[in-house]
């Protein structure tokens, strides 16, 4: 069942078009992540869904009701902000109950809901404190609690973890996932952090310049990126792109003097508009050999070795193209030496140079 539905949404600030004819359907209980670089319109879209921005065109439906003109409070949403936005002069309890008091709930009901949310988020001990006496992670928990007490159908998160340090971010990420599994509410989550997107999402919508580039589950987004932008944006360290040509029958790809067989390719390489294509290979889909294997490997110069701890990242040059590859941290490689790469073609992607779409 559809829970949130955005139909032909337009948003303009003066003459600047931020969102144009945007459509997205979000199922009940789904965790959707809006992912994209800064300025792609993802937070704007979230603000439109929340009712904090008036749309210029189109409709927004939440739980089967057209809420395009409804006030934020009447949309059945709870929202968590990047800067926490806790009311500084109120205690944690005051922060949690402010919305409920505004909506004139009974004292007992407020008490029950606040306690329930505090229980779930383990902030019971903090109820009497002011936000200024809390750490970043605690503040964000309270902010999530403030959304939870509203007991609504849809929860909106606007980069909630971006202000936290790396360790806390990982902890709260897991907690959010647990929370979603536990409550099974619809959640829409904006982030520019692809790890958050990959780990949390049921589906990811990757946005750029106000358009959704790809809307799919994390596995598909990662392994079959819809276009060059998605391929380059998702994945860290990033995908390497090789400019080259596809053979007439589509069975081999040539860049520089090197040729790779495309027999295992998972896609429609023959749909290319011309023979000019790009091959995208992720670092972990390159196997490094010290000895050449005729017809399989391609020689490359090893420029730099970056030890990441669990593995090492090799920066290679082959036929004038820059390529990165991940290898086991225990294997030792020497910068300046020549190594031999084997591509896992079944996991790589071919892009039409003209349309930038995956083939």
């Amino acid at each position: 069942m559809t829970n949130v539905s955005v139909r032909q949404l337009d948003l303009r600030f003066g003459s600047v078009e931020v969102l144009k004819n945007l459509n997205i359907e979000i199922a009940e209980g789904e965790f959707l992540v809006l992912l994209g670089p800064s300025g792609c319109g993802k937070s704007t879209l979230l603000n439109c869904i929340a009712g904090l921005l008036d749309v210029s065109g189109g409709q927004i439906h939440i739980s089967g009701k057209n809420v395009t003109w409804a006030e934020p409070k009447d949309r059945g949403i709870g929202m968590v902000f990047q800067s926490y936005a806790l009311y500084p002069q109120m205690t944690v309890k005051g922060n949690l109950s402010f919305g409920l008091k505004t909506q004139k709930f009974s004292k007992a009901e407020i008490e029950r809901r606040v306690n329930e949310a505090a229980e779930i988020l383990q902030i019971k001990d903090l109820l009497g404190r002011k936000p200024s006496a809390l750490s970043g992670g605690q503040r964000q928990r309270v902010a999530i609690g403030r959304a939870l007490v509203r007991d609504v159908d849809v929860y909106l998160f606007d980069e909630p973890l971006s202000n936290l340090d790396a360790k806390l971010r990982t902890e709260l990420r897991v907690e959010l996932k647990r929370l979603h599994n536990q409550l099974n509410h619809t959640m829409i989550y904006v982030t520019h952090d692809q790890i958050e997107a990959m780990t949390l999402a049921d589906r990811i919508a990757i946005m750029r310049d106000g358009f959704i580039q790809q809307l799919a589950d994390p596995y598909t987004v990662y392994n079959k990126p819809a276009n060059l932008f998605v391929a380059g944006f998702v994945g860290s360290p990033g995908m390497s792109f090789l400019d080259g040509t596809l053979s007439e029958d589509g069975t081999s790809f040539t860049f520089g003097n090197a040729t790779v067989g495309m027999g295992d390719y998972d896609g429609q390489q023959n749909d290319a508009s011309s023979r000019n294509v790009k091959l995208g290979v992720r670092p972990e889909h390159i196997i490094i050999h010290t000895e050449a294997i005729e017809g399989v490997t391609i020689a490359a110069e090893l420029d730099i070795v970056e030890a990441l701890g669990s593995e090492s990242l090799l920066w290679l040059t082959s036929q004038g193209e820059k390529i990165s590859a991940l290898v086991n941290a225990d294997d030792e490689y020497e910068a300046g030496s020549t190594v031999h790469m084997e591509f896992n073609i079944g996991k790589s992607s071919l892009f039409d140079t003209k349309t930038e779409k995956r083939l």
């Binding site: 603000n47 936005a85 806790l86 500084p88 402010f98």
Partner: protein, 300 residues
């Protein structure tokens, strides 16, 4: 390397500071000269006000009083004559209180809501409205006096206290609105959004979220308005009559009266009395300038 202490040669620890460096002498010298320049008139006023007339006539204005007397202060407060009235400055003082208190409250109450609306509820025409308001801040008051007199006359408020209060409230609006708008604009916008999602409306957000966070700006506005309105002379002399003269106008009438002997000691006492309210406000509210009231709302 062992844990043994190494012998450290050369510079170590905090850099020694010379007390009488050229820099310090210059800074403190300038400060002392400038503060003397400002404090000297005050000193002259206070010592003169504590002298009797014979001592004043001797002319040594810098010498401390030989015989301290509070007579001039009492006279200035209770007996000095302006025209036919001989009840001193006390009447003007109470008039000023009755003018200042409502004007300050009304102007700040209206301007803070104005500023809040302009900063957070971007309604259509908000920018135009704001531009007009700011433009008002740059028009010299003198231009508006005559129209204002006519408006007040038509309203039946001319020379009444209410009229003067209205004038002060209106003329305080541009600068105060600007002040509040900028303050509310600097508050995190997400706080406002969060309150809206929580279902709070215009007034609830204003009273429950914005007001408790704006103590510093209210203190600034109070200082600005109290001193401005208390020290006002122009509007006081135009929009009131002898019975409702504010203290400043009365002070002028006492000091500038041409009849009889110039009682410098009484004049000095009257002047200090008139200036004491703004001074007290500065001293009290200085402590209230608490910063970081809004700290903790955003990442800390």
């Amino acid at each position: 390397m062992s844990d043994q202490l190494m012998a450290l040669d050369g510079a170590q620890g905090p850099k020694p500071k010379k007390r009488f460096s050229r820099r310090n002498i210059f800074i403190y010298g300038t400060l002392i000269v400038v503060s003397l320049y400002y404090l000297l008139p005050l000193y002259v006023m206070i010592v003169t006000s504590l002298k009797g007339m014979p001592e004043v006539r001797m002319g040594n204005i810098f010498s401390p009083p030989v015989e301290i007397t509070f007579e001039p202060w009492v006279k200035a407060w209770a007996h000095a004559c302006t025209g036919l009235n001989c009840d001193g400055l006390s009447r003007g003082f109470w008039n000023s209180v009755r003018i200042t208190v409502p004007s300050v409250i009304a102007s700040i109450a209206i301007a803070s809501v104005n500023g809040y609306a302009l900063a957070n509820w971007r309604f259509k025409g908000a920018n135009l409205f704001f531009t007009i308001l700011i433009f008002g801040a740059f028009i010299p008051y003198q231009v508006m006096i005559y129209p204002m007199v006519i408006i007040l006359r038509e309203m039946g408020l001319y020379t009444k206290l209410g009229g003067l209060i209205l004038v002060h409230t209106v003329f305080g609006m541009p600068i105060l609105t600007l002040l509040f708008r900028n303050y509310f604009s600097s508050m995190p916008e997400e706080l406002f959004k969060a309150a809206r999602v929580d279902g709070a409306g215009f007034w609830r957000i204003y009273f429950k979220i914005m007001l408790p966070m704006s103590l510093p700006i209210f203190v600034v506005a109070i200082i600005l308005q109290v001193t401005g309105i208390w020290n006002d002379f122009l509007f006081g002399v135009i929009f009131s009559k002898p019975e409702t003269y504010p203290m400043t106008v009365q002070l002028n009438n006492i000091v500038n009266s041409v009849q009889g002997v110039k009682e410098y000691n009484v004049n000095m006492a009257a002047t200090v009395l008139t200036g004491i309210v703004p001074l007290v406000i500065y001293f009290i509210s200085g402590k209230l300038f608490v910063r970081g009231i809004a700290a903790g709302a955003v990442k800390g």
